[in-house]
Symmetry: C2
Subunit: 225 residues, 2 copies
């Protein structure tokens, strides 16, 4: 147990140094994109909450000056979905690097260099589908957006508070499923407000189109585009 | 960058040592429970796929000789739900330890000591809701069961293969949502088989009761109880 404890303390020490190095790169990305008039949005959620669909709908409404960095452990499925809309999407696969459960600022910096910043006014990062780890790593975004589908349950903000606390906007997705769910939107809203009273909360059904105007309105307010 | 790279290699080295220490404790748990005639099942899934509900339904059908170790970052909500059924549930909160995204064998060992092994024939661990990290840590179970809800999309086995590969049984949940979803059960089944051809796949709607007999049948076959 002494060995295990010693290893744990080395792990924490190394992690703190990695987080510090990550934060410095994140700040550099944030400032550099701001100077170029590019607004950077980081989307986080559980697997399958609707991140790619929300980006697809956003591109359809706001046009082609959007680029996307896709984070996945395996596959380029999401980047392919987005390229069909005629926009540039760059896929980061963490699989070859131990299947990392989050994206780090250094990888975003490399991906931005590959994508190029010309002809872009909004950059989306679709983080790894995971309600835990991505919240711990600043990727340099100007806005963190958390998605949660009504299928996931009202208790998730209480059980995974950090992801809700680091986000300025929370999008409740798949509201078309509400007729079939024992689910209280009111309880979910209260639970989000308990852990992050300042969070802007909106509801969308991307497939039915409900709530998308409000999402675009918030984006235009935040980005000034 | 040299500093970052050096830190990364220290991180990997420390992680390998931690994983090795974890595996030794996991084997010890597996053997010790087997000798006592206790069958140990590890449930993994994204947040909100229905792990607690599946345990609740299992307890209702198989009786009170089940104990549960609940993994959550914050709250004791799930343990409280299970204690209402008159069974013993022990909550591990990883929040105070940096919000860890998975459970490790050492914590399970401590939790088993707290719960006691008398009067137990099945032990469930409900892992942290996360499709990435828990798959990397052996907790000493005799059976790994992965849950995926039809709301999460057919592509998840391809995007998060490890969780599907370390599991012997895959339970597709919330099939009562199928009428409202553009979702193909056939494609999900094919994708699971692509990454793990040996996996037993079943479909349940815990709320409607569909498929639960098959789940209990599999449990009884595996556990011999």
């Amino acid at each position: 147990m002494g060995y295990k404890k010693n290893m744990e303390s080395i792990k924490i020490n190394v992690m703190q140094k990695l987080l510090k190095a990550n934060d410095a790169i994140a700040d550099e990305i944030r400032n550099s994109l701001k100077n170029k008039g590019i607004f950077f949005i980081n989307l986080m959620s559980s697997p399958g909450s609707g991140k790619t669909t929300l980006i697809e709908e956003t591109v359809k409404k706001l046009g082609k000056k959007i680029k996307v960095i896709e984070g996945d452990i395996q596959t380029t499925l999401d980047a392919e979905r987005l390229q069909k809309l005629g926009i540039q999407a760059f896929q980061i696969n963490t699989g070859p690097f131990g299947g990392d459960c989050h994206l780090e600022a250094a990888w975003i910096k490399t991906a931005i260099a590959e994508l190029g910043t010309e002809g872009m006014d909004i950059l989306f990062v679709e983080n790894i589908g995971n309600l835990v780890c991505p919240a711990e790593f600043d990727v340099g975004a100007h806005l963190n957006v958390l998605l949660i589908s009504v299928s996931e349950g009202e208790d998730k903000p209480l059980k995974y508070p950090l992801a809700f606390q680091v986000s300025q906007v929370c999008v409740i997705t798949k509201t078309d499923l509400l007729p079939l769910k024992r689910f209280s939107l009111e309880t979910l809203r209260q639970n989000i407000q308990k852990v992050n009273p300042a969070c802007t909360i909106i509801e969308v059904s991307a497939h039915e189109g409900a709530g998308l105007e409000r999402w675009i309105e918030i984006l235009q307010n935040k980005t000034g585009i």
